[in-house]
């Protein structure tokens, strides 16, 4: 079970933006610092822009900046902006046995992961040290 590249790179690029604390940073700088493809970043940033959490600034010193409060952005929010949902799956056959497994295993896992990823903000990841945050 793997997270999509889009979500992993999306989070990384937002961490980079959040660390600039609202200052403008160019996409090529993020791309080289984060070792990500600039094209790929442009696609991801278009979606973040559409979601209204970043804005692009034109001109010689142009680039992107975070305009939303990173305390208010959770990982679930980021996943949803990138059109990815937390869904570990489940058996498509519906009968008594599979309904029990779906409810006790897959749906529960979805719920718990959702709650966990909703509880972590971009600010916590980018600025604080998440190792020190107790989550359980």
């Amino acid at each position: 079970m793997r997270l999509s590249t889009k979500v992993r790179y999306g989070l990384r690029s937002l961490i980079a933006l959040a660390q600039e604390k609202g200052e403008i940073i160019s996409i090529s700088v993020i791309a080289s610092e984060q070792e990500l493809s600039q094209n790929y970043l442009e696609n991801i940033f278009a979606e973040f822009k559409k979601a209204g959490i970043i804005e692009s600034v034109k001109g010689a010193k142009g680039g992107y900046r975070l305009i939303a409060d990173p305390n208010e952005i959770s990982i679930v929010d980021i996943m949803e902006m990138l059109d990815r949902e937390i869904h570990v799956g489940g058996n498509k056959k519906h009968d008594v046995l599979n309904d029990i497994i779906n409810k006790r295993v897959y749906e529960r896992l979805d719920k718990e992961l959702y709650a966990y990823l909703k509880s972590i903000s971009l600010a916590q990841i980018a600025v604080e040290d998440i190792q020190n945050i107790s989550l359980f």
Binding site: I75, K93, R108, L113, A126
Partner: protein, 137 residues
């Protein structure tokens, strides 16, 4: 982000086995028929479960598949890890070494997510699912 069908069908087959009366003899064919799973696919799944030390097969008059780990001690985590290889959400947790590890701020998040998944799946045993199934029959 999905747990594959191997994990899903394997889990289904094991819960079914655990819900049957003790000393039931299981062949891949009977389970496949009962659960409407492809026999070929179930063969692959059972071969992984055997390799993983979860089930065992024996020959002879009373032959067939049976549990090597008691269903009450067999967690869903153990089963899914055996059948999916690894449940890690990102490969840098165990599978691959990443050169950015020291400066990476997102790895701890995915690592904790993985710990969380393991806690949830460790909490459910095959027996508890089978018991619930039997109660509803």
């Amino acid at each position: 982000m999905e747990i594959g069908t191997k994990g899903q069908y394997g889990l289904e087959a094991l819960v079914y086995m655990a819900s049957c009366p003790e000393n039931t003899q299981f062949s891949i064919n009977t389970i496949a028929t009962q659960r409407n799973i492809s026999e070929k696919y179930l063969e692959q799944i059972f071969s992984l479960l055997k390799k993983g030390g979860i089930i065992q097969s024996s020959r002879g008059k009373y032959g067939g598949y049976h549990f090597l780990i008691e269903p009450k001690d067999l967690t869903v985590l153990r089963v899914l890890e055996c059948l999916t290889g690894s449940l890690e959400p990102v490969r840098c947790i165990h599978s691959v070494q990443c050169k950015r590890e020291a400066i990476c701020k997102s790895k701890p998040v995915w690592e904790k997510m993985y710990d969380h998944m393991k806690l949830v799946l460790e909490d459910v045993t095959i027996q508890s699912l089978a018991d619930e199934y039997r109660r509803q029959l």
